[in-house]
Every structure is written in C-alpha cells, then in structure tokens.
C-alpha cells in the first residue's frame, strides 16, 4: 500500500507512485474508454514449507560426531558438579569452560553454568549446538538413504542440502 501524508501528493511522490504502477503492469494498451493489461497467472506448481526449529540435544551419536568435528573430548555419562548444583547426563567439555555442559537426552536440554560468560564463552556452546544440529540432520538423512552436501555461509551459518532419494 502506498500512502501519502495528507494533502496533495508532491511531484516527487507522484513520480514514485507512477514508477510503481509501471513496474507492476507488464503491458498497457489504452484507448479512449478501455484499459487492457496483461496479468501473469501461474497455474500448478509444487508446495514447500519453511520450518524454524530450536535445537534440542537428544542424539548421542550426533553429540559424539560434533565433539569429534570440534576436536573436543569424548562425552561421558556422569553426574557433574556445576557451581551450585549437580546434574546427571552426557557431560561435554567445551573449550576453556570451567564446568562441562550436561546434555539430558530425555528432555533435550543442556544444563550449564558459565557465570554469564566469565567461566566460558557462550560462542563455544553455540558452536557445539550448531555442529550438533548439522550432525543430527546428516545422520538421519543418511539413514533415509538421502545424500547430503554441506556448505559454510559467509555469516557463519551452515547450509545442509539434502537430496531426497540421492545416494551419498
């Protein structure tokens, strides 16, 4: 929608409005009484959907793969003393973190105490979660017989392309 802030449109706004109309209508035929224009109508097509997912840590094999890729120690199942409480689960020792993070595979939750970043950089945990998500997706895709291609993007995201029915 285009709106002007009261009064008559200025010549500049009128020009912008005109340009937008011209851009929208591909062809215009005009006579004294009738305007014809061609509209583009698409028929058929495939359907897609976009899903946003908050990563939960539930797959031990993906945890192991992620720690290997990030060159972290192997995870161990343990009762871990964080600063003020004890947690039981898969302990993952992140780089330069005072306490390990503890993954509960039942809930998908990761417990940690990094004292607001003083005892370990959040970036290290984020990197682990990113790598975990990629490995979890790759493992499941390959189980289904799909091929996968991984690419690191300029903003640090990792793009995983899964070709359904392909062979990796």
């Amino acid at each position: 929608m285009i709106s002007f802030s009261g009064g008559m449109p200025s010549p500049k706004n009128g020009l912008i409005y005109l340009v937008l109309i011209v851009a929208r209508i591909s062809t215009v035929h005009q006579d004294k009484r009738t305007v014809f224009f061609r509209s583009h109508i698409s028929i058929g097509g495939s359907v897609s959907h976009i899903v946003m997912i908050q990563t939960e840590v539930r797959d031990l094999e993906a945890i192991r793969q992620a720690t290997r890729r990030l060159q972290l120690p192997e995870p161990t199942f343990d009762e871990v003393q964080l600063f003020s409480e004890r947690k039981t689960g898969w302990a993952i020792q992140l780089r330069d973190w005072r306490y390990p993070v503890v993954a509960n595979l039942e809930s998908g939750r990761v417990d940690f105490d990094n004292y607001g970043g003083r005892w370990g950089k959040q970036q290290e945990l984020d990197q682990f979660l990113q790598r975990y998500a990629v490995e979890a997706a790759v493992i499941q895709a390959r189980k289904q017989g799909h091929s996968t291609t991984e690419q690191t993007l300029a903003d640090g995201s990792i793009k995983l392309l899964i070709q359904v029915g392909g062979v990796s």
């Binding site: 028929i43 359907v47 998908g108």
Partner: protein, 64 residues
C-alpha cells in the same frame, strides 16, 4: 528434484525448507528431520509457482 535445505545459524537454530514436493508430501518428507533437530517454533506453507506462466488479458472499464 526434491530437496530439503537446512540452514543452521551460528547459535544453533535451524531453518528447514522443502523444495520440489507435491502437496502434503513435503511435510511427510521432512518430518524425520524436524523430530531429529528439536522443537518446532514455526511452520509456514509457501507455494512455489515455477510451472508455466499463462498470460491472460484483463479488461478494466474506465469511468466517464
């Protein structure tokens, strides 16, 4: 070609998009990945219109 694209952000959030599927097939095809990755926070259906564009004239009457 049927593909599923996943982009995992530097903080570990995932965006999954299916391409080239017909109808409900796309949701079926990606369900195993959604389950593997975690908790779905949004799900948006989109339409890919990459088949033939048909040009059709439309007539508008001008008022006197």
């Amino acid at each position: 070609m049927k593909t599923i694209e996943i982009i995992v952000s530097p903080t570990g959030q995932a965006r999954l998009e299916t391409r080239g599927f017909q109808g409900a097939e796309c949701r079926e095809a990606s369900r195993f990945l959604e389950l593997a990755l975690g908790r779905k926070t949004s799900d948006t259906a989109t339409s890919e219109f990459h088949q033939t564009n048909v040009q059709q004239p439309t007539q508008l009457e001008q008022k006197e």
